[in-house]
């Protein structure tokens, strides 16, 4: 499940931020490397909400900075709902 969620998160990030398919972004920093503007970050988290049909309040993801960490956060959220 972790791999699947990681894969889905990675795809959403690459779609939204227009990152080439071959790029490994799993450990990249969202704020420093991938989505430096607040518009990019808002777009990304809304797209993730749509992908996983879960709300992602900004206060819950404050400080989460890599794609791997986001995938872990979403997995925990989905597990807590089931």
């Amino acid at each position: 499940m972790q791999q699947t969620i990681e894969h889905r998160v990675t795809q959403v990030v690459k779609d939204v931020l227009e990152i080439d398919e071959g790029t490994n972004i799993l450990n990249a920093s969202i704020e420093k490397e991938l989505a430096p503007t607040s518009i990019d970050q808002m777009t990304l988290f809304i797209a993730l909400e749509d992908e996983f049909q879960e709300s992602i309040p900004p206060q819950e993801v404050a400080g989460i900075d890599t794609i791997r960490d986001i995938a872990r956060y979403i997995e925990e959220k989905l597990n807590s709902m089931s």
Partner: protein
Amino acid sequence: MKRRVVVTGLGIFSSIGSNIQEFWDSCLNGRSRVEKIPEQWLEFAEYKSSIWSPLPDFNGRFSRADILHYDPVSLISFITAWEALESAGFVLSRQGSKGSKWEVEGLDTDRTGVYMGTGLGGGSSLLSNFSHHSLQKSKIVLTEICRSIKDEAVENAMRHVLTHMMCAKRFSPFVVSKVMPNAVSAVLGVKFAINGPNNTYSIACASSTIAIGKAYEAVRTGEVDTAITGGSEYAADDYGAVFRGYDMAGTLAHTSEDSFSANRPFDKRRSGFLYSQGGSGVLILEDYETASARGARIMGEIIGFEQTFDAHSMMSIEEGGLQIERMIKNLLEKADVSAQDVGYLNAHGTGTMNNDRVEADVIQRLFHKSLWVNSTKSLLGHTLGASGAIEAIVTVLTLANQVTHICKNLENPISNLNFVRKSSQAIKADIGLSQSFAFGGHNAALLFRRSV
């Protein structure tokens, strides 16, 4: 400096065709798309009209980010501008393998302007976000109350209310930039990295005719060498509120009988226009020297633009059509063209009682009996702020191909004008006129010359 202004590219997205080829094929075969309005709209009001002309799906062409960032009216602007630029012979290359921005090779982006029209802008996004703003908290409260209700009838009634409280699932942080009318031109500047003047004109149903006129003037006077111009409209919302506005104003085709042929401009039995979900049309204009230097295919030439204002009523056309008459006379005089030289006229032709009568009277007063006249709205309904651009495109294609489309559902004409009565009507015309009238009292017209 007065330069020649030529048309080198065309793009369209409409209910009867998602590109120029499909659209023109539909036109020449007299194909319409008329359907019943969405059932959910019937939950909120009773209407005199019950038909519309829906658009093909377009969301599949866009990335998640584009759909989040742009109102549909901006998305369809992009579709048509892309087609127009490509048809003008420009090579479009994506910036990055997944990029949503495009480089237009061979285009001097500093010397290119964007001039678009729209009547409603991003009104669809305004309405869906307003619905969320006003309903979402109440929906949560009502849902909670529903859970504790023991009476089945009361619970069913409350659930019925809840299903009618439709709204977007979130209030978009991008709502301001989606709603603003100027997004319709701004999206093209952003997507194609165009740095020249970038303007949106919002003049109801004359929006894109005036936008094209302004683009024509900018190219003609040397302000820019190339213009991306036209207009877009997207007029759907969850509740049918925009449709209701036009319906209550008495402008839509009544559909008590014979629904699918109720849209009949210039017919004695006309009762209003066919409401269109929207559409978009874009033309690429260039000065003749710039176009020739790059070997562009010249599809036609704009030789005049004129506008007047009725100063009469916000919603009714002036009965005598005096300002329309003055506009056409000025248009012809400035272009040094006689009325006898005009072979084709694409009418505003909405199918409303007064509009068609006044327009037909003015045409009869000014032009010769063999002038070919049709209404593109008889095929795809009224696309409001996009209609002028779509009809300008029809005028260019008509002159270029010396053939035009039927004035559909016209069985008992209101006058003896030379209306086009059959599909794929061959015509001989070197000069064509396309005109638009708008709520408020705005009149605008463009004059085209066939490219030979």
